[in-house]
Subunit: 209 residues, 2 copies
């Protein structure tokens, strides 16, 4: 593969970690370009014009003979990296079921489990706007629901889909394993705790950060 | 294909319409099983135990020689139906870029554009909880941002990715074309308006409902 891969990222972001973990498990080289999202570094006119008009990271930059292309959305970048590998099951149902959990992650899990971690650990409770403060309880409940659903699903099976690690596990691992930073008690979810150890024991695993 | 496909749906849901539109464009037969989400029909013990423990529709039910399987998440169900068809581009970057817009739809578009339509048209402004009311302005701004991003993207290109209709268009069409029911003025987005007409003119197109 002659592509040069560059990840535009903030090391504190679980969404960025997904892509780094995918690349690590596959033994792919990823150049890193760091931004501080708390300082608005992904909202500059230059970033918006060239990297991502949505003003968000991660973005995977792909340089090859055809030129430079930018791919936003963490789960789409993981898909690009993992194409053709065992991290994407080939069976038609299992592949769609893997995507099901990746959409679940972005809709039910990330906006609650990750957002509370961001607000409580990085923004700070005292600095939340009134509107953010009004959403904490709803996000607490919805995040606990998402974790409980995962825990029930992982009871009696080792991986989210099929019989090995896939992008469904990689998408859900980052914000789940640091959920306590957002005030979620992981001891309530024993099957998740076992699954976290299983992911950490994967060959070529790298920690977040 | 010997599968029997059944969609568990509410006809008012754009997420369900995505799947029906995908099946229609591909000429696939889909049996329909209707629920009224406003009456809690997807939160019954039976639904949670057999169809979807997340208590949400759409769910695609697949019956084949191996048994009965359930696939939640609208975009995953579209992926299952469209597997191997021209609605999923084969080029590696274009395929990942299509998924990028499908994740964008679930993260940036649906929770704002679709939720405001649901609240204003089906729940009714007078029946919103205080917490929902407190979120209307933020969802109005984020939804307008998502539509503006789509509009800029569609300026100068006919389809969301590549040079033909894909699941990225099908995922974004349902809630975009009825965005005015949530109070978004589509005349602000001329490229979106042209794209809507392009989707409606597709052979085998079916309307929502």
């Amino acid at each position: 593969m002659a592509d040069t891969l560059t990840l535009h990222e903030d090391p504190r972001s679980g969404n960025c970690y997904k892509i780094k973990l995918t690349a690590a498990l596959l033994g792919q080289k990823l150049n890193l370009r760091e931004y501080d999202i708390l300082k608005g570094e992904t909202r500059t006119p230059d970033f918006l014009a060239t990297v991502n008009s949505n003003g968000r990271i991660p973005v995977l930059q792909i340089d090859d003979v055809t030129g430079t292309r930018f791919l936003p959305e963490s789960n789409a970048a993981c898909w690009y990296l993992a194409e053709g590998s065992a991290l994407i099951p080939r069976d038609r149902f299992t592949q769609a079921d893997m995507l099901r959990w990746m959409f679940f992650e972005q809709y039910n899990h990330e906006p609650n489990v990750a957002t509370l971690r961001f607000w409580l650990r990085f923004v700070g409770e005292a600095n939340l706007s009134e509107q953010q403060r009004a959403q904490v309880l709803a996000k607490r409940i919805a995040g606990a629901d998402a974790l409980a659903l995962m825990d029930r699903h992982l009871t009696g099976q080792e991986w989210m889909v099929g019989d090995g690690v896939t992008l469904a596990d990689i998408a859900l691992f980052p914000y789940t394993h640091v959920a306590e930073e957002g005030g979620f008690g992981l001891s309530d979810y024993p099957a998740i705790c076992e699954w976290i150890e299983r992911v950490k024991a994967l060959p070529k695993f790298i920690p977040m950060g």
